[in-house]
Each structure stands twice: as C-alpha cells, then as structure tokens.
C-alpha cells in the first residue's frame, strides 16, 4: 500500500477519504560502523546540523545519536521565543540569520513549525533603560532589522492592559518592538528537522548514549556508545545542558556551569495577549501559545544542577512579575512548571566551532538563547563541519575567546555564570 510522505492539505484529505497511511516521521535505524560525521545530541541543534549537512553540503553519511528520545532536552522545554534583537557585533548578524531561516522553515522542511510573528515588545522602566534599548534598536535598524522605539503612550495604546496605575512599582517608560519576533511550536522543530534529515539519509539513533570518545593519536575518531563503537570522520558535541559532562569524556574542561531554567504555562484561555512582552524591571518574558496557555519564564534558579526540576520560589518570583506587568494575570491559573538544564557561560554567549582536539567540534553554552538560535546554529555548524573551519557568523564564538579576552557579553552582566 502506498503511504503519504509529503505533507499537505491534499494529503490530509486523501487520508480522510481513502484511509491512506502516513509514512513514519523518521526511521529507527541500527547504527552503522562508520559515518562521515557523528553528532552527539538529538536536540534541535544537532538535528538542524544534520539536516543542513545533508541538504546544503551533500554530506548525508551522518548519524545523530540521542541518549533518550529525540528532542528530549531543551528544544522541548523552552518558552518558544524567536527574535533577533541583539546588539553585539556578531550576535546581531547571527540571530538575524536565524530568524530568516525560521521564516522559511515550514516550507523548507515540509513540516509546519507554526512560526507566529506577532512581535516582541521589550519594556523600559526608566530613561537610562530606554537609552539602552535605543542603542539596541539603532544597531538593529543599521543592520537591516526592523524595530520601533515606543514611548509610554505608544506602549499603552499597543497593550492597554499592562499596569499603568500610579501604584505600579516600576512604571513603564517605553519599549522596543520587533515586529518579526514571535514564537514557534518547539517540538515541531525537532520533529521537522528529524524527518527532513531522515529523508536525506541521515541516521537518527535514539536511546544511544555516548560513553566515551575514540582517539586516533591527537584526534577524535568516533564514539563509544551503549549500542557499540561508531567511527566518525568528524564528531560534534551538541548536547545543551550536558556539554561539560560529554566534553569531559574527551578530556576537555569548558567555561560552562549547568543551571536550571524554569518555564511556566497557565491553563488555556481565549486570546489574551497577542505578542511577546519582556518586562524590563526583572528578567521576565511572556507570550500566549496557539493552544491558549500563557507561557512565561524568568531567571535561572541560581545554582548549578542537573535535576531538571526547579525550585519553588522561582514560581512566585515569575508570578509576581506576571501580575506586576499584567494585573489581569492574577486569576489565571498556573498549569505546569518545569525546568531545563542550561549551559551558562561567563559572558552569556555560546561556544561554536573547533575544539583543541582535532576532529572534535563543539556547539554548546547557549545560556538563554538556544532555541531561537536553532536554525542558524545548525546552519553554521554544518558549514563548520563540512569545511573544517568556522562559518564567518560564528567566528566570535570560539571556545578559546576568554584566553584572548574577547568575550561577547550581550547583557553586560560581567563575569559570573550564575548571574548571566
């Protein structure tokens, strides 16, 4: 019997009428002995890297090894925001490239990732903060990224239900709006990339945990796994919160501490908030999913942990922010909160590229930015793996940048991983 493998409204109708089956989204292959590239980590970044390796560089003899189920890490635990409002040289271009890839992704993958560009408004609560946003906005404009600076009355017209009362603790002064920012259905990103990479011949191997790296002199030549030894021309570590853990298997120490970032969602309600809003008084961001839940998050818990469950006081902190920002949030009810393990680096920016060990590559240290970076991270890492040299967009993210002193501290928070 034929199966449907291309997704479309027509295919849905065919299935409804004739009961035709859908093809599996991706195969469940046994690992082969040797690949050109082995990617450790079946999250968004690893899968995107595999997809672009196969689709843009003709390298499809690729395996993606995932310890648990595909997409079990941060790609399915985040607050789904995408944006490109960055000001540091290098960051602006990288995240804009990412947003442009997001804009074509559903078509590219033939999988609806539901990019919803309803915009993001970052609020300022004082004149100095508005100057900081002005710098960011001017930089964006000068790099071809649309945005607008709002004063208080603009904000009030745009979102009349924020707290403009006289007893507001941190009155709203203005904001910076990026219309192309928005949200993406996060799980769909992992599935969409996996399905598209699989179609191009990439082997996606779930329940395959890497326990060590194979060495050939001063180079890495593959991995040792619970499903046997796998040889690889080049090996990429792309494991989000476990970068330190996996890199140590290869003898590398990284400028990374693993912290917990929590996410929160309320019960679904009818349309309540149309865009993404970021509070300026504290780190807090909120949007409404297509299903209707209010999705929000804040700062990391503040100490390193691999437990994937957060501390309760953070739930109160973000709830306070929610009500301080939108008083009507008070009667909505929190449905779930959960945590992801997040690599924190001294400057809040990631590491991408070659490592000191030959043929071993790293993509990690994403702090708060991993999800929105997914397409560009995959794009740039695929280029880097294919050419053995960093893509121009990620040259500022080298793993040894602190030795040279050129950190990329987007938020100006200083040295501390646990404050970034």
């Amino acid at each position: 019997m034929t199966v449907l493998s291309h997704y479309s409204a027509l295919a849905l109708a065919r299935r409804a009428l004739f009961g035709t089956s859908w093809a599996r989204a991706w195969r469940k292959p046994e690992p082969r002995k040797t690949y050109d590239v082995v990617i450790v980590g079946g999250g968004g970044h690893g899968l995107a890297t595999a997809y672009y390796l196969a689709s843009r560089h003709g390298i499809s003899n690729v395996a993606v090894l995932e310890r648990g189920y595909l997409g079990s890490g941060n790609v399915g635990r985040n607050t789904t925001l995408v944006r490109s409002n960055y000001q540091m040289p290098g960051n602006t271009e990288f995240f804009e490239h990412s947003l442009q890839l997001w804009e074509g992704l559903s078509h590219e993958l033939n999988f609806n990732v539901m990019l919803s560009q309803r915009g993001q408004l970052v609020l300022a609560h004082g004149p100095v903060q508005l100057d900081v946003l002005a710098r960011k906005g001017n930089t964006m404009r000068l790099n071809g990224i649309g945005c607008e600076l709002f004063d208080r009355s603009d904000v009030q017209r745009f979102l009349p239900f924020l707290d403009y009362s006289t007893h507001c603790r941190f009155p709203i002064y203005g904001g910076l709006f990026q219309p192309r920012a928005g949200t993406v259905r996060h799980d769909a990103v992992a599935w969409g990339y996996a399905r598209a990479a699989d179609r191009l011949g990439v082997d996606i191997i779930e329940n395959c945990e890497v326990s060590g790296f194979l060495r050939d002199g001063d180079a890495v030549s593959g991995v040792e796994t619970n499903r046997g030894r796998i040889q690889a021309g080049r090996t990429l570590i792309s494991v989000a919160g476990h970068s330190s853990h996996v890199a140590r298997l290869a003898g590398l120490r990284l400028p990374i501490e693993s912290h917990l970032l929590q996410a929160f969602v309320t019960e679904p309600v009818k349309p309540f908030l149309d865009c993404v809003v970021s509070f300026g008084a504290e780190l807090f961001y909120i949007s409404q999913s297509d299903k209707g839940g209010m999705v929000f998050g804040g700062h990391i818990d503040g100490f390193n942990s691999y437990t994937q469950r957060g501390q309760f006081p953070k739930a109160s902190t973000v709830a306070e922010c929610a009500v301080a920002l939108i008083p009507g949030m008070s009667r909505l009810r929190l449905l779930r909160h959960w945590a992801g393990i997040q690599d924190m680096t001294p400057d809040g920016s990631p590491f991408m590229g070659r490592t000191p060990i030959k043929n071993l590559y790293l993509n990690g240290g994403w702090c708060y930015q991993g999800f929105k970076a997914t397409p560009a991270a995959g794009w740039c890492m695929a280029h880097t793996l294919a050419h053995g040299e960093e893509h121009p967009l990620i040259r500022h993210l080298a793993i040894d940048r602190f030795e040279r002193g050129n950190g990329s501290d987007e938020y100006g928070l200083g040295l501390w991983t646990y404050k970034q």
């Binding site: 997704y7 479309s8 409204a9 299935r15 089956s21 859908w22 599996r24 989204a25 991706w26 648990g68 189920y69 040289p89 559903s106 078509h107 609806n112 919803s116 560009q117 609560h125 004149p127 100057d131 900081v132 002005a134 960011k136 906005g137 001017n138 404009r141 000068l142 071809g144 600076l149 009349p160 707290d163 009362s165 007893h167 507001c168 603790r169 769909a188 599935w191 969409g192 309320t266 019960e267 309600v269 309540f272 008084a281 409404q288 209707g292 437990t307 309760f312 739930a315 109160s316 306070e320 949030m329 008070s330 009810r333 929190l334 449905l335 779930r336 909160h337 959960w338 100006g412 200083g414």
Partner: protein
C-alpha cells in the same frame, strides 16, 4: 431515554435546611449547603456542561473530583471572572455565578461541532501537516482562526480585586490526603506526640470513605476517625487545602482556598493563601483515581466514573439515572451498582472478567442486579446523552442495552503526581496494573492506595503514620489501629487491547485524543510516551492527564509489543491542580512588587517638591519643583545653581563600607588597582577595582580616618556585589589578613554640598568646623561632633565644583539637611536631583552608569594610568589578555554636537565621516546632556580607538528617530580640565 436526576429525600451529606441560590447562565437555581457546583447543577438537571476542546462534542460530568476533564465552567463576573474551574471541585456558595464556555453560539447548539464531522481530517498532529501555503507567511492567516477556536474559557484583563496571602509553615509530619489511610496515619502520628499537619483538598474529610452511604458502617468509621484526629491538639487539620507541589528539602507547597466563604479584601481577607511548609517527614496519602473505560463514544453525557456515580448518590443524594449500566473490570464498581439498586434503579452490571468472587455475586443477586460476566462494553450510543450501549459477551452476539446512565470503572491508578515531583519516577506494578511510586526518598513515605497497598488501608495508614512519627523522634504510643471493617482497594486486572475503535473512543477527554490518535502516533513513529504526549497533546490539559496517562501508556505498550514497565511513566509536573497566579504572587504585587529602598531624607524630598525616580531598588529625587515641571528642563536650572552658586543633593544610596584592622591598608591595596596603603590619615582617594577577569567592577572614593580604619564607598548599583566580593576574598582567599568589613550604607545619611559657594554655605551651617583650604584641602576628610552629632566631612567632588560630602547618622540626616538649607539660605542654596547630579558628572567626564557596562577595561575608560606598576591587585594578570589591550577598543571620548539645532541622543551609533551608515559603527553614545556652560548638546561615548581620534568629526546615527547628527570628538572632560574649580 433522557437523563433524569432524582434528588433523594433522605441521605447524603448535604444540609437540606440550608438552601443556596446561585446563577447559571442567568438562570436562578437552588441547591444545598454541602453541594459542589457539579452536584448543584446535576440536581437542577443540567447535564450538558460543555463542549470538547477540538471536536466540540457535547460533554457532561465524568467525575466528582479534581480529575474532571469536561466540566470546566467560568465562575464569577467582571473583574472576578475566572475561567476553566472544574465544577466538581467548586464548593457551592450563596450567590455563585457561573456559565459554560468554549462554544458558539451556545453549548446547547454549537456550530463549531462541525469539527467533529471532519474529525478524520482533524486527527492528531494534522496542523503540522498543513496550513503552510500558499506563501511563506501563510500560517499567520490561519493562525488567527485557530487562536480564536483554541483556548477554553475567556479571561478578564481587569485587575483582580481579591487579596492573596502567603505564609510559611513548619511541621513534624505532614500528611497529604484525609482518606482512610491519611486519617489513620494522622491518628497514629498524632497519638505519638509530634506536630502533625493533615491536608485535605475537599471541604469534608474522608476521601473515598465519603463515597459510602451515610447509613453504612463505613460512615461510623469515618466519624470516629475524624473525631479521634480532631481531638488531638497537636494535629492541625486543613480543609479546602491542596498540596500543589513537593520540592527538595521536604518542602511542600499548598494552597488554602477561602472563596466559598466569600472573603472581603477590604477586611484583609484572602481568597487564597499559599503556604510553603518545611516538614520533617512527609506521608503521602493521596489515594487513587479511577480510570475510565475505553469504548466507542465513551465521552457521551451520562457516562461517568463508577465511583463518581456512587459519590453523587451517597454524598449528594443524587441518583443520576433509572436504567443503569455498570461497566467494569474490577470489584470496586459493584458497590456502586448495589447502592443504586437499593434506591430502586434497574441495574445491569457488565464485568469484563470471566468470574468474580462468590460473595460479590451473591450481594449483587440479592440487590436484584443483572450481572453479565465476561462482558465488555463495545460502544455507547446517543446524541446529546447516552441512550444505550452495545455489550459484547464472549462467545455471543452483541446485545443492545437501553440505559440512561453508564457507570464505568477501568480500575484504579495511585495518584502518583505529587510523589514524583521530586524526581521519584513511578514504576509499573504488574499485579495491580498501575503505576506506583518508585523507592521513597529519606523522610518520605506513602500510606494506603497511593502506595499501591493491597492490605487494609486503615492498618496500612496506621503503620506508616506511626513510622513517620518515630522517624522524627516522637516516642508516644500510637496505640492500635481503629477497629472497623477492612477497607481495601478494588485493584483492577490489566486491560485488554482496545486499539482501533470504529467510533471515537476517547483516551484523553479534555484534549479530544482518541485511541485512533494513539495508533496514528505509533504509526508515524512517535512511540516514546513523551512523543505521544507532545504529538497528540494527550495529558497536556488542565487535568494533567489524571484519567488518561496510564490508559495511553498501556495502549502504546500494546502497539509496540513491549512491557509497560519498560516504557516507563510520563513525568508529572507541579502543580497537582492548577493554582492562581495571584496566589503564587501573594502580596508582592503593585507597589509591593519589590521592596522600595528609601534614603533617610526621602520624606523631606517628597514633602518639598521632588519628583522621585526608581534607581534600582532605590527611590531617589529626580528633580525638584523649584527648578521646573519636567526633568528635561529642571535639571538645567539645578545645574546652573551648582555651577554658579551652591546646591545640595542626597547621596545616601551610595554603598558605604567600613574597612578596619591592622591589614586594612594591605587589603585595599589588593582590591584596588591603585595605592591605598600610602594614603595619609585624613585624606580620601578615588579608587577603581577590577573583577578577576580584569574588567572594571566598580569605582568610588575611600577615606582613611585612622591608621587601621578606612571608609569605602561604592556606586549605588554595585554596593551589594562589592560587599559580597570583599567578604569572599577575606573569608576564602586571604584568611590571614586581619581585616573586618561591615556595610554601613544604612547607618549614614550622605549629602553633597556642591558649587563655588559650598564652602561659605557649610561655614554658615557648621560654624564650629574649620573648612579652610589648609584645614581641609581637596580630597581631605575630617571627623567632628556638632550639636552632639557625629559628622564626617569629605571634600570630594563628583560635579567638578568645589564640593563637600557630609555624613551624619541616618536618623539625624533630615535635621542636618534642613539645617544646611536654613543656615545657608542667604546664599540661595537649593536641592538638586539625580538628573542634575548625573549631568554635572558628564560635563566633568566622570564615568558612571552606562560607561561602566561590565565590558570595559581601565584603559577603555581612560583610567589606565591609575593601575599601579608596583603592586599586585585583583584582575592584574587577566587584564593583560591580548584583546583587552588591543589598540582599537571602544574607549571613552567626549562628543560635542556640531549642529546647533540638533541634540545628541543616548544610544546613537557612531560612524566616521567617511563610513557608510550601516552595521555596528565605531561606537555608541552612553550619556547625553545639554551643557549650560558650553551652550551645546554634549555626550560621553565609547568609540573605537578612543581619543586617538580627538578633533575628528563623526556622525551619530539614530535611525529609530530618523536622525543623523554631526559631532566632534573631544576630551570627555568638558569643563575645568585643569581642576581650578575643585581647588578653589
């Protein structure tokens, strides 16, 4: 047949003496005290309670408790409108207002139910496969309709008029749940003598005991248990209280609900109270939840869980049907049938098992129940209510049975939600066919059904309760378990294959996930339970899969041909039941969102025309009314006063640290890049400290009042961090240094008296103090006692003018401030605010605020010469890293605007004259002001190559404002570069 509810004239746990009126979609209805909203609506024959999320199928009540997936209503109105409240958990109160939701135009006639007709298109995950065309952004078109169709109830944007409180609690043994095991555990632990807290989400104690008839011996048992526990003074019983989460450190968070008592916020009464409790031992006694059976159209109104049917009968005196089918795979539902039959209903019982034990069969026979063993419910039929079902008995043709109520039981699942919050993964118990909690961590135990107990729940609860008490050191005698009939669970046998139903058989009722959807997910490769959940949305509803997760897991395990134990459990996340965001926030909202730090002079400022502004946690005077009505102009008048006469400003928010001890000088030499050991007593010095990475951390002046005693100041923003850092170095790295540091920020009120007339002003104000250049030169400090008040005078200047900082004890701050203003009034002294303070320093080229952005080096700020070459200091080595010493770094410059009609703007991006205006430019403007001295707009900026470009003309681009302004790079020290004013 139609549904018909009979409120029985006797029995139940309702108060027939107290009728309560409530409004349902504008209709006035009445029920009794003791009713939930669900029983009240059922008593008024309201059965169609909502439409399902996706297919808009008619839905009725399925349960009588927190697991309810269907009966979500919107309660209240106006600012108190609250969507998605399960009617089964809402205690009825006089005047309650409610309505149904998620249907258009109405629940009775919902046009959206067309989606149900098109169900084969709207299968699980359909939206991943379509809505992509014709263009790239087309999703945004479809999304508008989908967003409107999604969501359950609608919420209000109005501020919540109700009050929420938070509380902290401590107890020895915390028991979650007051069913038979929980009550027995509380009784045993209480008798042992320790502090016990018993939580019950319901407004009555008893849990599953409440399903029994008030005429049965079980009621006597419940009453005596409750009386025993209530008689113990060391046992705290909290009703209407839900444990929402269990966290590390034996911490349990619960919510106490007061809504049914109609709290009055004006009287300080809270709607909900959030409590964080640290227990020494936790006893889980959450019991078990009954599972629905999976069969075609199992979501029709009139199909309820068997335990719910029994609860409505025995607790609320409601018989929900006359011709009743009990469909079960276990013993527990038989009691429902027997109780119903006793009211005269016609009861047919279909049990999937080939046989049941003889005593059950005998009781059923005596009750007049028609029992059909080895019989499965194949499919129910009905349009807006159930009217019958096809039964399939092994070896026989399917038979139609007309009925108006189906009570189903698919067995029981221990309520392992809270038990798994701290990472204890549930494990599959083959014998009872359900997930049970994994190994208990230290300090945690489980009593009764939640632990999968096979034995008498009362005895089990007693044993666990006394064990928990012993574990916290209680030595009293727990006594014997309460006597009474054994109370055991009717655990089910594992169920059989139910895949591929012909009509929709729901697994997750709220999110409309059918068995076909599970099969589809399997076929497409979404086999892992987490993939299944995320692909089909199963278990993601407001009920968090309380009735669906296990059935789905079983179904998937069958499809995969694997053992359920191997595929594991899904992860349950807090909260156990949804909790108001308002309760989580408590009182930390509005003005109390965060603490406000006020200086000792705050009240004076407010009373004397200051407009205050937030500066981090502080409120500081921004500008004063004497100078104008808005900051943009007032600061000019205030600056003019300081440049030409004398002004006074409040600097109390600066961080202030006493550094004392024989090694204080050595310590300061280590933390500052410049020398402090050489600072003479009676002098102050400006210092800069770096982080270990060589980046500037903070700056400020430090004064030496005696050989071993220094007074260090930090910026307002960094005060806390610097203090912690100093303590860190002394307590970890340099434990040999004999130094103590103490934050004295709040001890001193600080004020700066600045301007060419400042010496004269202070001489008038403090006539006993010699302020002559000889006695107190620039950077000189002195201590005095004036009018019995200790006074510190520091001749420091932030503004570039002759200036003094005066410090007095915080409680004398206002007195000193007023005295200076009064005595120096002949000189025209007036207060000036933060905007003028910040602008004065810009004119003088002092870095602060956005220049100190945690990215720059000493050299970037023009301070490279300060670093000692003769001593070590924190950050010395790493500041030498290659990129930090590169020549083309963004460094501090001054800018003068060249266009007289234009203004420089904060955040403008800087370009050389010849540059194309795009990209990141060569720097940006950090601080701007209008200089009353230079009569032009000036700025501080960071610019690539810094002052090596002095004199060059550049372009300041602010595309956000559509502006490009020309400016010249100049020294950041705009005025008085030689420092004559300071030494005046």
């Amino acid at each position: 047949m139609t549904l018909g509810t009979t409120r029985l004239s006797i029995g139940g746990r309702i108060n027939r003496e107290r009728a309560l009126a409530f409004r349902f979609e504008g209709r006035s209805l009445s029920a009794y005290q003791g009713d939930t909203l669900a029983s009240a609506l059922l008593a008024n024959d309201v059965h169609l309670i909502g439409r399902s999320f996706k297919y808009h199928r008619p839905r009725g009540f399925m349960s009588s408790g927190v697991e309810e997936p269907n009966a979500l209503l919107t309660l209240g109105s106006g600012a108190r409108r609250t969507p998605n409240v399960p009617a089964t958990t809402a205690e009825l109160y006089e005047g309650l207002i409610c309505e149904r939701q998620n249907a258009w135009p109405s629940v009775e006639f919902d046009l959206m139910s067309i989606t149900g007709r098109l169900a084969s298109v709207f299968e699980a995950g359909f939206y991943y496969k379509t809505f992509m065309g014709p263009r790239r952004g087309s999703w945004m078109f479809y999304e508008r309709f989908i967003r409107r169709a999604a969501g359950l109830g609608s919420a209000t944007h109005l501020a919540d008029p109700d009050r929420y409180d938070t509380r902290h609690a401590f107890t020895d043994v915390l028991i979650i749940g007051s069913g038979p095991a929980g009550l027995a555990a509380a009784r045993a632990a209480g008798r042992s003598g320790c502090r016990v807290t018993l939580l019950e989400q319901d407004f009555l104690l008893g849990g599953s005991l409440l399903t029994a008839s008030t005429e049965s011996p079980d009621e006597d048992l419940r009453r005596s248990l409750e009386a025993d526990v209530a008689s113990l003074p060391n046992v705290e019983i909290l009703r209407r209280t839900t444990a929402i989460g269990v966290y590390d450190g034996l911490t349990v968070v619960w919510v106490e609900r007061r809504e049914s008592a109609r709290p009055d916020p004006a009287k300080g009464e809270a709607r909900e109270i959030l409590v964080t409790c640290r227990a020494r031992a936790i006893v889980h006694a959450e019991g078990a939840l009954e599972r629905p059976l999976i069969f075609g159209n199992n979501d029709l109104p009139g199909i309820l869980l068997a335990s719910a049917v029994r609860t409505y009968l025995n607790r609320y005196a409601l018989r929900l049907g006359k011709h009743i089918l009990i469909a079960t795979n276990n013993d527990s539902a038989w009691a429902t049938g027997i109780d119903l039959a006793a009211t005269g209903a016609r009861v047919t019982l279909a049990d999937e098992r080939p046989t049941a034990n003889a005593s059950l069969l005998e009781s059923a026979r005596r009750a007049g129940i028609e029992v059909r063993m080895a019989t499965q419910l194949g499919q129910a039929r009905g349009t807006r209510a159930v009217r019958g079902a096809w039964l399939r008995t092994e070896g026989a043709a399917a038979q139609w049975l007309a009925c108006d109520l189906i009570a189903m039981s698919g067995g029981w699942s221990p309520t392992v939600h809270l038990t798994s919050h701290t990472g204890v993964r549930p494990v599959y118990d083959n014998i009872i066919g359900a997930m049970v909690p994994g190994p208990w961590p230290a300090g945690v135990s489980g009593a009764g059904a939640v632990a999968g107990a096979r034995e008498d729940l009362l005895a089990h609860g007693h044993k666990v309760g006394s064990g928990a008490a012993r574990s916290v050191g209680a030595s009293g005698d727990a006594g014997d378990p309460i006597p009474g009939s054994p109370w055991t669970m009717g655990w089910a046998q594992p169920v059989q294959n139910r895949a591929k139903a012909r009509s929709k058989a729901f697994v997750d009722f709220q999110n409309d996930v059918t068995t076909n959807d599970v099969v589809l997910a399997y076929e497409e490769g979404y086999e892992s339970l987490e993939h299944l959940k995320r692909y089909t949305t199963l278990g993601m509803g407001t009920d968090q899969g309380k009735t669906s997760n296990l059935a789905a897991a079983q179904l998937m395990a069958e499809l995969r041909g694997s053992d359920l134990g191997a595929s594991g459990a899904t992860t349950y996340r807090p909260p156990y039941t949804p909790v108001s965001v308002g309760a989580l926030a408590g009182r930390s909202i509005g003005a109390h969102f965060r603490p406000t730090r006020r200086t000792p002079l705050h009240d004076w400022h407010v009373a004397n025309g200051a407009t205050m502004i937030e500066a981090g946690p502080w409120l500081r005077p921004w500008f004063y009314a004497w100078a104008g009505g808005e900051a943009a102009t007032a600061y000019l008048a205030e600056m003019k006063l300081v440049r030409g006469g004398v002004g006074i400003s409040d600097t109390s928010s600066l961080g202030k640290i006493d550094v004392q001890g024989p090694d204080a000088a050595e310590f300061l030499d280590r933390i500052y890049v410049n020398h402090f050991a050489s600072l003479p007593v009676g002098k102050a010095r400006y210092g800069v400290m770096l982080n270990d990475d060589g980046i500037v951390l903070d700056d400020g002046t430090t004064s030496r009042f005696s050989e071993f005693c220094y007074f260090l100041t930090t910026t307002t923003a960094q005060a806390g961090e610097v203090m912690s850092r100093l303590e860190f170095l002394l307590q970890t790295a340099w434990t040999d240094l004999r130094v103590q540091v103490l934050s004295v920020t709040d001890r001193w009120a600080g004020m700066s008296v600045a301007g060419p007339l400042s010496r004269r002003a202070l001489t008038l104000a403090l006539p006993g103090i010699d302020l002559s250049n000889e006695a107190l030169p620039h950077m000189g400090v002195s201590e005095h006692v004036s009018d019995g008040m200790p006074v510190r005078v520091l001749r420091l200047s932030f503004s570039g003018e002759l200036a003094y900082e005066i410090y007095v004890p915080a409680d004398r701050g206002t007195a000193m401030w007023e005295m200076i203003l009064k005595r120096a009034s002949p000189l025209g002294i007036k207060p000036y605010g933060l905007e003028a303070l910040a602008s004065l320093r810009i004119e003088k080229g002092h870095v602060a605020g956005l220049e100190l952005d945690h990215r720059n080096t000493l050299a970037d700020l023009g301070l490279a010469k300060m670093a000692s070459q003769k001593k070590a200091f924190v950050g010395r080595e790493l500041k030498e890293r290659a990129e930090l010493t590169a020549p083309e770094r963004w460094s501090l410059v001054g800018l003068e605007c060249l266009d007289t009609t234009a203004r420089l703007r904060g955040g403008a991006i800087l370009f050389a004259k010849e540059d194309p205006i795009r990209g990141h430019g060569r720097g940006y403007i950090t601080s701007v002001m209008y200089s009353t001295v230079l009569k032009k707009s000036i700025a501080l900026a960071l610019y690539r190559g810094g002052l090596t470009h002095r004199g060059e003309e550049i372009v300041c681009a602010s595309p956000l404002r559509g502006e490009q302004v020309r400016a010249r790079i100049v020294s950041p020290m705009f005025i008085d570069a030689s420092g004559e004013r300071l030494h005046g």
